[in-house]
Structures are given as C-alpha cells and as structure tokens.
Amino acid sequence: MTVRNAKHATFTIERVYPASPARVFAAWSNKEAKTAWAYCHPEWPVSDHVFDFREGGREHLVTGPAGGTRHVFDAVFHDIVPDQRIVYAYDMHLDERRISVSLATIEFFAVAGGTRLVLTEQGAFLDGYDDIAGREEGTRIGLDNLDRQQRQQRAA
C-alpha cells in the first residue's frame, strides 16, 4: 500500500561563473549545450530527449542505468526572460511512479567578472520510494567527471 504523504521543501544554490549572462543563459537555452552538462548521470543512456525552449514549451527526458529503473523527467517552461531568468515546473518518475513535482527558478545576474547564477528549487516530494530506487539514485558522481575537473584545475 502506498503511504500518501507530500512533503515540501525549498533550497537555493548560488554559483559565480567567469562568463557573461548571455553565455550562461545560452548553456540552458540551447539543446546541444545543455546536453554537455545537464544530465544527472552522463554515463546513462538517454533514450528520448525533447527540448522545446519557449514559454509553454516542454522538455522530456528518459534515461536510466541500462537494464535498470527508467528515470523520466518532464518539464514545462512557465517564464523565460532572455539572459535573466527561467522558471519551469518539472516532475520525475521512477518507472511508473511519480516521485516529485518541483518549481525551479534560475536567475542570471551580471557581476564583475561574470555571472552570478541563483537556482531555487521548491519541491513537493510525493510518497516514499523504496530503498532499491533510493540506492540507485544515490549520490553518484562519475570518477571520470571528477578526474576531468581535477585536470582542468591543474591545467589552469
């Protein structure tokens, strides 16, 4: 039996990037650019990626470990202010089960030397999910991603 119990939470993350707001915004608005950084697990195959970046447009992504749980991401873009702000709603499914619905606000502020990006997620977590899915989600990071970052830092 599913225990129905929605829990709500909000968090904010900030970053400063040495790039103009236009360049940082383009990394979010352009499908090819976005796929270079935005997949949660770049080592997983992606079987479907729809990206229609406009107010009222949607994004749809199906991914997951080969032979494992299907992770489905569905978003609707509510508010887009070029080079300044994106507000979208998204939900996540693990196989057939909707796990969460969230609002994401991304703001791009010009600062000396680049852009301050402020990301706010307001989420509704719906129903518990079992430990198997939890372990799969995990907090994994590809070692090759970490390695690449470290090489980047050493080369800088």
Partner: protein, 153 residues
C-alpha cells in the same frame, strides 16, 4: 526596462469539512461544482472557469473588478490521486504581465467521517509583485466558499 527580481514564498492552509474526502475531491474534479466556489468576489462577474481535470490537463479562469485590471489564472495538472491528492502548477497574470508561478498541493485526508484538507502553495512572485500574504488570504476566502458549497449540497 523592467527591474527583474523574484521572491519565493511557501504557505499552508488547513481546513476541516464534515463531508468525506470523496465529496470534497468531487468539488474539485467537476467543472460545474468547482465554478460554484472557485472564483473571485461577486462584483467580478459570472465564472468563466474552464477545467480539463486530468494529468496534463489545463484549467483557466479570469476576472476582475469593473474598470480594473483583469486577473488571469492558468493551471496545469501535474498529479492526481482520486480522493487523496491534487498537484498543479499555475500562473497568475495581471492583464498581460505574469506576476507569479506557483506549485499547489492539495491533500484530502480522512478525519473521522469528514475531511482534513491541507493546501500547500510554493510560489515565486515575479518582478516586485509579491503581495505580503494577500495570496494566502485569498485562498482562505476560497475555502470559506468551498465550505458553503459543501454545506448546501
């Protein structure tokens, strides 16, 4: 040029109704029922509520005081669990300006023979349009109207 800013806010409202969850849920799911309680004050005119009650379906309503700005409500249903939960996201516009985007979760919990309704809204108010609790008060008024509708059924 518009000064861009956002303000994030969350509020929760709880109400208890004598009607069981299935009846309270039905007041949300059926457009004729919903139009009887979900709307602005009387001077805003007759309800023009449109409702396609399914996941991915849309809901819309508009109105405003005579001679004043028109409020537009547009929602998308994100999650529906019959008699238990509704999750939607919605935008408010004042005339042509988008003033907020919100995530609204309505839970219908059994309470004896009745229902404890919990509504949680997580909102982002855009470009200075935050309303210092006005949204929360507005929902309080809607739930008063829902209570009256359920009593009259």
């Amino acid at each position: 040029m518009t000064e861009r800013s956002t303000k994030h806010a969350t509020f929760a409202i709880e109400r208890t109704f004598a009607a069981p969850p299935s009846r309270v849920f039905a007041a949300y799911a059926d457009v004729k029922s919903k139009a009887r309680w979900f709307g602005g004050p009387e001077d805003w005119g007759k309800s023009n509520l449109k409702l396609d009650f399914k996941v991915g379906g849309r809901e819309s309503e508009s109105g405003g005081p005579p001679g004043g700005p028109v409020h537009y409500y547009n929602a998308i249903y994100q999650d529906i669990v019959p008699d238990e939960r509704i999750v939607l996201t919605y935008e408010m516009h004042l005339d042509k300006t988008r003033i907020s985007v919100s995530l609204g979760t309505t839970e219908f919990k059994p309470a004896g023979a009745g229902t404890r309704l919990v509504y949680t809204e997580q909102a982002v108010f855009l470009d200075g349009h935050d309303d210092a609790g006005g949204r929360e008060q507005g929902f309080g008024g809607l739930f008063d109207q829902l209570a009256r509708f359920l009593e009259m059924q």
